[in-house]
């Protein structure tokens, strides 16, 4: 304990020292700072040149513009990531993990050996096994299995690498989503997108580096922490944009306010902020100055990039977009546009995949099929569209949920349910990746005959994170941030590269 306090005090002293050197610098060229135009602050030219002349400690470009790009430690395979998260956990057994054996045991009691010592979210007593509720076929040259719930997907099946035996140790949505996106089931860690933008910045100065789009009528159970910045500076958190109405709330100037007026307002605010900064040397003030500037530029750029109506008719049709509505298809098209414009990390959440069988929408044979219908075409379109624009080679697409679903039919309260459903299951589920650096048309990992557990090529959530970071040019073991006296990693103390799916 005493040790910990000592370390904390050291960290405080270190931070103060950091701030002080800046303060000295500020004093020595306060005049120069005062006269700086906002635009030049953002470009980082003047402040970067002055210190050299005066031989004082320089501002890093990062202090002035936290999203300024940084070179990754290793040559990256991809520049951007599009992460498609099916919130609620899609059933691998009806989409990609074909288990004909499970059909043979359909309706039989689940063997006790599988149930002993296990916790399920809702299953009580002895549930019955339930065979696949979809028809499967081997598709493409790779011959990977795809169900008839995803008829368009077969066109892109040779582009993706399946992970058939992913496992997680969480079986409730919130913690499992947090785990999937921050590497920890508890609050407080930065999300993958935050790590990526912290480590690499983002090239487009007019758009945020990390954009989040949601669909399906709800946001993920874990709340905004799944795209949060945790202990990283807050500027690296995901910016949630809406695909319906104004993409960002209050992005339009109110009636009667001209853009010039807005500009002078921001200038005035930033002038005060700069005086404040000169006094207290708190780097968060610099970040704030930049946020105002960024917001001002976003006012033009965001509505432009978020407008799917400008896309040609055939492209809109390919994705199956519904302009004016909030839909996964719209978000997929937006994701392509954002990546095309240099956004580093695009996170899509689609809500409504929690198929317990308690209601029609949550049934494995009906509701799930509709949900699959909502994502099937857009995902195939996204892959093909990125491909024809030469962007698939430099973009990573990740698809998955927070866990999978049981091979047993759910029997909530030990009763027969109104519809067919499956409970939460973290032991084995399917995810896939596609894009730059990913082997095309492979399937890694295998589950047992009934799809309960992985028997070959099991990969953990940390392994997936390690692989994503690798493709972005990082060694996940070296990519750390010091906080409260210790170095933190996205993969904590675990994670191994999934080499089998790397090209």
């Amino acid at each position: 304990m005493e040790d910990l306090i000592k370390r904390l005090i050291q960290e405080k002293i270190a931070r103060e020292a950091e701030a002080k050197t800046r303060r000295h610098f500020i004093k020595s060229c306060a005049q120069g700072m005062g006269g700086l135009a906002l635009s030049s602050i953002f470009m980082g030219c003047d402040p970067l040149e002055k210190p050299k002349a005066k031989n004082t400690i320089a501002f890093s470009e990062r202090d002035l513009n936290p999203l300024a790009t940084l070179a990754p430690p290793f040559a990256p395979k991809v520049k951007s990531v599009i992460y498609l998260h099916m919130a609620g956990a899609p059933s691998q057994l009806e989409m990609f993990d074909y288990k004909p054996e499970l059909q043979k045991y359909h309706g039989q009691d689940c063997p006790q050996s599988l149930l002993e010592g296990r916790k399920f979210a809702f299953i009580k007593g002895t549930p019955k096994l339930m065979g696949p509720q979809a028809e499967f076929k081997q598709e493409g040259e790779s011959g990977n299995w795809v169900s008839n719930f995803m008829p368009h997907f077969k066109k892109v099946v040779d582009e993706v690498a399946f992970l058939k035996a992913v496992h997680t140790d969480q079986f409730n949505h919130g913690p499992a989503q947090l785990f999937m996106h921050t590497g920890s089931a508890r609050l407080g860690r930065p999300s993958i997108g935050a790590w990526a933008t912290y480590g690499l910045g983002s090239p487009n100065q007019n758009l945020p580096g990390f954009v989040v789009l949601t669909s399906g009528g709800n946001t993920p159970d874990a709340g905004k922490s799944v795209w949060g910045s945790g202990f990283l500076p807050s500027v690296y958190q995901g910016v949630q944009c809406r695909s319906k109405g104004d993409p960002v709330l209050y992005i339009e100037d109110p009636d009667g306010m001209t853009r010039d007026l807005k500009k002078s307002t921001i200038d005035a605010i930033n002038k005060i902020n700069k005086e404040e900064y000169a006094k207290y040397a708190d780097p968060e003030i610099l970040a704030r100055i930049n946020q105002y500037e960024m917001a001002y530029r976003m006012q033009i750029a965001v509505p432009e990039v978020m407008n799917i109506n400008n896309e040609p008719e055939n492209v809109q049709q390919m994705y199956g977009v519904e302009p004016g509505k909030e839909s996964f298809a719209n978000n997929c098209l937006l994701a392509r546009k954002l990546v095309e414009d240099g956004v580093r990390f695009v996170q899509l959440f689609d809500w409504g995949w929690d198929t317990h069988g308690n209601i029609r929408e949550g049934s494995i044979d009906l509701g799930l099929r509709n949900k699959c219908g909502e994502i099937d075409r857009p995902i195939a379109a996204l892959i093909l569209d990125l491909k024809q624009r030469g962007l698939l080679d430099e973009t990573l697409i990740v698809w998955g949920g927070e866990f999978g679903r049981t091979p047993m039919q759910e029997n909530r309260g030990n009763k027969k349910m109104a519809y067919k459903g499956r409970d939460h299951h973290g032991d084995a589920f399917t995810m896939w990746m596609a894009g730059g650096g990913i082997k095309k048309g492979v399937s890694h990992g295998k589950t047992d005959d009934i799809g309960f557990s992985g028997i070959e090529g099991r990969v953990s959530v940390h392994d997936i994170h390690a692989t994503i970071l690798h493709l972005l040019g990082f060694d996940h073991e070296q990519f750390t941030y010091e906080f409260q006296g210790r170095h933190f990693r996205l993969t904590d103390v675990e994670g191994e590269l999934i080499k089998e799916i790397l090209a």
Partner: protein, 464 residues
């Protein structure tokens, strides 16, 4: 008090250099002055100061030993030899001053004493250096053969080098198994150290086994400790190598297993033994497929890069380990052909260039041809038609061209076969018609025409 101990103690490394200086000066003067006798009065004084400063060094040294938590064993030689040095210095002073009370000194010639003294101070200083810098500090940069000649431990990693052509001819033991054992095991199980009475550096000792007997059951890796120990969980006490030591790769472990299962032959090549190629693929040289040429170039000056950035370009190193640059006009859609001049100072470093969405014309090709290391080129959403694109055929490394959404015309596609390293060209959304992918030059070049479609399916409109 503790603080004082530490502060004074930390002055030790400073103060020790005073006696060293004085004593060496004294020795040099002594040798120089042997015949001349010009400095007879000065030399004793030098030794007096040498003794006083050595005593101070002893005191601070002792405080440092107390204050910094050294073990006595670590410092004992240095401590005693330091005290001896101080005493010796006073003795030299006494002898040279001719103090009669210690007449046994007069029987030993001064020259002998001075040589002894030189050895003593060298030894003391060296011991001190060993404590602060570590014992192998001096020898560490030496080449391995000199190190081992000096009796220091060396670790020489033997690389496993196989490739597409020679893998079948490689002797399995000498080229594969021996290096694996050498790199992962021999530092503890070899000639110098023989933990568990086991050695693994040559066939005889491998077959002999260790204190628990043989480690190989012929043709049965699952019962051979040489393999089973490797695949125990890392936390298992019997896991080898110990978990804090370097671990063999999964491929190396797999090879040990495969080798044991064919009767651990020490002779014969991979081909003769009929082992599968898959086992060895991970030792083949990695193909270079980064987005820049596989050559070394000089770095662009930071100021130069900053200048270009300040003109609105996005410029970034491809990686921290590379001098190659990626340049993009993502924030500079106003870029026109003549702006290319700004990039002139970094022509050698540009490997990725993105002029997508800018105001360039076909005149740009002449300039692009001056980028010797250009690997990835994006000219999408521009007005270029492709006229003069053949100028780019001189580029040795150009791998990918993105022309989507430009005004590219069909006739200019012909020159693509002339490109040396071109792998892919994207021509979707141009005046070129077509769909899907086609290949040129026996599949070396892929042209992606795009225009992919997802025809409507009857199931599209069904709501279940």
């Amino acid at each position: 008090m503790d603080v004082l101990k530490q502060v004074l103690g930390r002055l030790h490394p400073l103060i020790v250099h005073l006696p060293i200086g004085f004593i060496i000066l004294g020795l040099l003067l002594l040798w120089y002055d042997r015949k001349r006798k010009e400095y007879t009065k000065v030399i004793p004084l030098v030794y007096l100061w040498g003794g006083i400063s050595a005593a101070l060094a002893c005191i601070t040294g002792y405080l440092q030993y107390l204050g910094e938590g050294y073990a006595f064993d670590t410092v004992k030689w240095h401590l005693w030899s330091g005290i001896a040095t101080a005493l010796f210095s006073f003795l030299m002073y006494a002898k040279l001053k001719g103090i009669q009370q210690i007449d046994f000194l007069n029987k030993v010639p001064t020259l002998v004493l001075s040589v002894l003294f030189f050895l003593l101070i060298s030894f003391t200083g060296h011991q001190g250096g060993n404590i602060t810098h570590g014992e192998d500090y001096l020898v560490e940069p030496l080449p391995n053969h000199i190190k081992s000649a000096l009796g220091f431990e060396t670790f020489e990693e033997k690389a496993i080098v196989l490739n597409e052509e020679n893998w079948e001819d490689a002797p399995i033991y000498d080229d594969v198994i021996k290096p694996i054992l050498n790199n992962n095991c021999v530092s503890c199980h070899g000639q110098k150290k023989t933990k568990g009475e086991l050695q693994l550096h040559n066939p005889e000792v491998i077959l002999k086994g260790g204190e628990n007997g043989e480690i190989i059951v012929v043709n049965d890796p699952e019962n051979s400790e040489l393999y089973t120990r490797l695949v125990l969980p890392k936390d298992d006490e019997d896991h080898m190598p110990p978990k804090e030591k370097r671990q063999p790769t999964p491929e190396e472990t797999e090879l040990i297993k495969a080798w044991l299962s064919i009767g651990n032959p020490f002779e014969g090549t991979i081909g003769e033994l009929g082992m599968e190629k898959e086992l060895f693929l991970s030792f083949f040289p990695k193909k270079h497929d980064a987005d820049h040429p596989d050559i070394q170039i000089s770095a662009a000056a930071q100021d130069t890069i900053m200048n270009i950035k300040n003109k609105g370009f996005h410029v970034e190193h491809i990686s921290k380990a590379s001098h190659f640059l990626e340049v993009s006009c993502i924030n500079k859609p106003s870029f026109v052909d003549s702006d290319f001049e700004i990039l002139m100072p970094i022509t050698e470093q540009i490997a990725i260039l993105d002029l997508g969405g800018t105001q360039i014309t076909d005149a740009i090709f002449e300039k692009l041809a001056t980028l010797p290391n250009l690997t990835i080129l994006k000219l999408d959403a521009t007005a270029i038609t492709g006229k003069n694109i053949e100028l780019l055929t001189s580029l040795e490394h150009l791998k990918s061209i993105n022309l989507t959404g430009s005004n590219l015309e069909e006739i200019y596609l012909q020159s693509f076969t002339e490109f040396k390293k071109l792998e892919i060209a994207y021509v979707f959304g141009t005046k070129v018609e077509g769909e899907g992918v086609r290949t040129l030059k026996d599949g070396q070049i892929t042209i992606d025409y795009g225009n992919y479609e997802l025809p409507p399916l009857p199931s599209d409109s069904i709501i279940y």
